[in-house]
Symmetry: C2
Subunit: 432 residues, 2 copies
């Protein structure tokens, strides 16, 4: 095998894939078990050329992919692995750094601290927060709640809105904390008047909920948490990236006062899976909860290692891809893309509002539009399935105020107005 030759073929494969992905069925059109059945039941005995991998990627795996890179992917929160992000992953793999200790990769650790500081500046976070990268926001909220639990012995309740992400449920289960879901107002925002903090160790507020991208009233929640000495974590996994645009920053009022914040550059900042930023104003408490330096990791260096702040011991050089993205887009490039997505979502919203028989069902703050067609929940659910079965676009759903809602999330850097228009055409065509 020649790394250069096979590398050229791999680059070509990805380039051709990205050039053609718009025209592939967005949602995989296979049944459970199809891909499994198409693969050999036993591993190969003898080496095969890398070309065989590329061949079977096309022949066997491609039909089983849902194309997150498609500009017509509008489900959940749409993402982009941008060109510099993708190529940086090649560098990450080639270098194969394993961050278990500062000395095992000083550049990994210090670049991670610097890029998170850069990103904090871009998002308008206050100076002095400590940032590091987790795999996903699920791990980030788990970490934050573990610290909160350790700091408040005997207080075993976590509060969040009924629209908070299921990651909070999972973290509470793992940490054996009681989770209390607080009701929301008519715009799906946590109601601070319903917060009872007597036995609480933490509150999770969300800026940009999964269902409706609602914005919890962080200033009022922070007042209560400060008064009660309760850890406040802000989950801004999706929407946090929007704080790079000054005109959207008002949605983030109060997040500079909280104990920890999660934002996913792998959602809306062009960074490939996985890269979830976690900042905290209390890094010493995080370290106090997680630090364990066994004999085999003791070293003469004075540096604190990032592994003292996380559940996993080893970390990838994820900072390199975030650094590449921040360098190759710059503040203005990232702002442009976020603004364009917000513009496209507003445009789609205007079409829904103008069309009889359709309604927008949640305020649109960012690039997510929640809407529905007149008729029952079941009719809307069937509409969603028909739309997705076409393979032309892919959208998802939520339940808002007890009603089934369709969701169109703009978030792919290659999405154009024509792609959004196509989504609307498919929806109106498939509606009864």
């Amino acid at each position: 095998m020649s790394f250069r030759e096979d590398g050229a073929a791999a680059v070509d494969w990805v380039a051709a894939y990205l050039e053609g992905v718009r025209n592939l069925p967005v949602l995989a059109q296979v049944e459970p078990g199809d891909i499994h059945a198409a693969l050999p039941p036993s591993p190969p005995e003898e080496p095969e050329p890398f070309a065989s991998v590329l061949r079977d990627l096309d022949a066997v795996l491609l039909p089983g992919l849902t194309h997150w890179q498609s500009p017509r992917f509008f489900a959940y929160f749409a993402t982009t692995a941008s060109d510099p992000g993708v190529l940086a992953e090649l560098l990450v793999a080639g270098l194969n750094q394993v961050g278990i200790l500062w000395r095992t990769s000083p550049a990994l650790q210090e670049l991670e601290e610097v890029t998170l500081d850069w990103l904090g500046q871009l998002l308008g976070l206050p100076a002095g927060l400590h940032g590091h990268i987790e795999d996903t926001a699920s791990t980030g909220v788990l970490s934050a709640l573990a610290v909160a639990r350790a700091l408040a012995p005997g207080r075993r309740t976590v509060l969040c809105s009924e629209h908070a992400h299921s990651a909070v449920d999972k973290a509470a289960r793992l940490l054996e904390l009681e989770l209390r879901k607080v009701p929301v107002d008519a715009e799906f925002r946590l109601r601070p008047d319903a917060l009872r903090l007597e036995d609480a160790c933490a509150v999770v507020a969300t800026i940009g909920t999964t269902g409706a991208a609602a914005v919890d009233p962080v200033p009022a929640i922070a007042d209560l948490c400060e008064a009660a000495g309760v850890w406040l974590h802000v989950d801004a996994a999706y929407a946090g990236s929007a704080a790079i645009c000054p005109e959207l920053r008002h949605h983030f009022a109060g997040w500079e006062r909280v104990d920890s914040i999660g934002v996913n550059p792998h959602k809306w900042l062009g960074t490939p899976m996985d890269c979830s930023a976690l900042w905290t104003s209390r890094p010493d408490d995080v370290r106090g909860t997680f630090s364990l330096v066994p004999e085999f990791l003791q070293s003469p260096d004075e540096a604190v290692s990032l592994s003292e702040l996380t559940v996993p011991l080893g970390r990838r050089f994820r900072a390199l891809k975030l650094w590449a993205v921040l360098r190759c887009f710059g503040r203005t490039g990232l702002q442009e893309r976020i603004r364009e997505h917000v513009r496209l979502a507003a445009l789609f919203e205007s079409w829904v509002e103008a069309e009889p028989g359709w309604e927008v069902v949640a305020p649109r703050h960012f690039s997510l539009v929640c809407f529905r067609r007149e008729g029952s929940d079941e009719e809307n659910e069937r509409l969603l399935e028909r739309v997705n079965a076409t393979g032309e676009v892919f959208i998802s759903h939520a339940r808002l105020g007890g009603r089934y809602a369709l969701r169109l999330a703009v978030g792919n850097y290659r999405t154009t107005e024509d792609d959004v228009r196509l989504a609307w055409e498919v929806l109106t065509r498939e509606a009864p």
Copy 2:
């Protein structure tokens, strides 16, 4: 930016790096803060070309890298990001699959199940285990212990040997389980006669401990765990890969009887960070512990999603890189490399044994040699620092039976006999 042009430059960069990495100082020769200080304090405003990223990778970051890809890296457990593994990461990033649900990437999920089944066959695991990929073995043991805790309410003790990995300590802390460390015998193996399982929910046995690559007596431990109804997890993060060689498989006796097994292909199977395999004979219990399917993830499919078995919701397409490695090496190719590493370690061991003033301090089962020079612990520690300061090779240490030991771990696919000989030359040269 042109993806093809920049991609060609990135492939060239990695190819040249791998061609030259043998001659770079293995351990980064920088002080804490040096890399930080060399980076701009603020993010760029305007886009920069990808070429700037490559330029600064050389100019700014390279001196701060510890070269895990160096064939002269012998510390901790040496690793390899093999050529097909590296190129597969490019494909993974280009496709940017996000496995949150079967339908969001059927190929990701089914390839993960198939490759873990293949790997289980290669390692001689029984059919019928369910495998999935975690980021690291730390997360794997956390998951296993979370399931064990859920299955045995009121039993809050975990047992492992005093040589088990610190990941067990961290998991126990997060799960609020009491960890009881069991003494080891003269060969650093857990003593089954010291296991008291009355209040235990789990035992962690290790095949290939971090310090000495010792092999706990799994058959005897499994007898006790079966009788007491206690979950048994086997941590074979490093050594598990060696089970691909029939002549080494006797070390793994009994692991077919346990509840969960962790093996890290990112350690000794040519796969870039991160890729940690976790098999269980009780996938329904794992799912029972972790499954949470919120409204927004409900779908008409019948498939169980891998995210129902893990802490994080989203998963990368890690299976693709493991698949590429298994394809491009085949069983025979992987066996060859593991055998060569074991041969090189045995050779090094023979040099240490033959040299007056040096001794081997633990039985060598795999590719790790634990040894020391006559004199005090402090003298050995200073020897280690002198050796590593040369930059010619990088080794690490452990404390075995209260004594400071030097560790030489062979594990890089590019390591030759000359590289191992160099390590011995540097050691004898730097010894007083």
